[in-house]
């Protein structure tokens, strides 16, 4: 049995330099990603790239407001990701609702449902602000304070309680079964 703790700094350096993003854009922040990816603020020089598969991703960018319907998908996608996984909330809506503070259909505190490591304020945050958040995230990975995935495991009962309060018990099965009758469209036009 090898004790890997000696190599932890090396692993952290490697994780910091190769954050792959889940290509899952909620709300309006998706429009802020193309400037980040293109030549002016080139994300690729940090080793970040968008990846369509959650199984290969480390960083989950929540871009913009989150509705309850989207939150179900977000939770399922977040639980698909392998450890270690980091969450970056983008804009004021995941923080406290932002302009949708009184909307019947937007989540007010994303922190109650999944753990968030870095929050960027603004509506919308400019690419410079997002770059600042990415820098912060790298620092946190290097000194080991980005521990959202550990918190999710330790406090899973609390997160699950909040999720069940919003969606009702057994929402995963219900959501999966809900569309089945409609997927088989008998009347082809």
């Amino acid at each position: 049995m090898v004790d890997w703790r000696l190599f932890e700094p090396l692993f952290n350096y490697a994780r910091k330099k190769s954050m792959w993003i889940v290509a899952f854009c909620t709300g309006c922040g998706g429009i802020e990603m193309p400037p980040l990816m293109t030549s002016r603020y080139d994300l690729e020089r940090f080793g970040m790239m968008p990846n369509p598969a959650p199984r290969m991703a480390d960083l989950f960018l929540i871009t913009g407001y989150v509705t309850p319907k989207t939150l179900k998908r977000i939770i399922i996608t977040y639980e698909m990701q392998p450890d270690p996984k980091y969450v970056m909330a983008h804009g004021s809506c995941p923080l406290n609702g932002g302009p949708y503070w009184d909307s019947y259909n937007a989540i007010k505190h994303l922190d109650k449902y999944i753990p968030v490591d870095v929050v960027i304020a603004g509506c919308m945050p400019r690419p410079e602000a997002v770059m600042d958040g990415i820098n912060k995230m790298m620092e946190m990975i290097e000194n080991g304070t980005a521990d959202g995935w550990k918190r999710y495991k330790e406090n899973y009962e609390w997160y699950k309680k909040n999720q069940d309060e919003l969606f009702g018990e057994g929402w995963r099965e219900r959501e999966a079964r809900r569309w089945l009758p409609w997927l088989m469209d008998k009347k082809k036009e």
Partner: protein
């Protein structure tokens, strides 16, 4: 606004379009709102005949079906927005139906304009207008199961109360205050 004579010259084309349509549809009343924008008011049960007529008269596409809620009159106003590529004219077709949920029924226009399916499902989800003949009315559209049947865009929906109940926030919020910190 220009003076009446210039307006008349500008909207000559629109008036001829209205004339042609009203010859075939005596139940409707039409008027020119401004250049390239006309408006029709029709009774609700004649909507299918009227839209078939519009399609013959080169109104090729439907842009949207919007619902306007008038709680004081007890009525919904349905606005069918049509666009004609041939004449470059935007036509509003307005009709009024009662606001009560069991009486808010309309015949569907899905077979005339196929795109209407989406807009009808939208109106059903948010306002409770039932379109008879559209077989996708019961299919879930945007709202979740918990919000089905609440019709959140109606004016008498208790918005803030629902938010307080659902998210358990805003307990110190008072609507009468001008300045507050939550």
């Amino acid at each position: 606004m220009a003076d009446g004579q210039e307006e008349g010259v500008k909207t000559m084309r629109e008036e001829t379009i209205i004339q042609k349509i009203l010859e075939k549809a005596p139940y409707a009343e039409g008027k020119v709102r401004r250049e390239r924008r006309i408006e029709f008011k029709i009774p609700a049960e004649r909507i299918r005949d009227f839209l078939m007529l519009l399609k013959e008269k080169d109104f090729e596409s439907m842009m949207q079906i919007t619902v306007v809620d008038w709680p004081n009159d007890g009525e919904y106003e349905l606005v069918y927005q049509m666009w004609s590529y041939t004449h470059a004219v935007h036509a509003f077709v307005k009709t009024r139906i009662p606001r009560d949920l069991d009486k808010a029924r309309m015949p569907t226009v899905r077979d005339i304009y196929p795109v209407a399916e989406t807009y009808e499902r939208d109106a059903h989800d948010f306002f409770g207008v039932y379109f008879e003949g559209n077989d996708k009315m019961e299919m879930p559209w945007i709202l979740d199961d918990t919000e089905q049947g609440l019709f959140p865009y109606r004016k008498d929906f208790d918005w803030i109360g629902y938010v307080k109940k659902k998210y358990k926030i805003l307990d110190r919020f008072d609507e009468d205050k001008d300045n507050y910190v939550i």
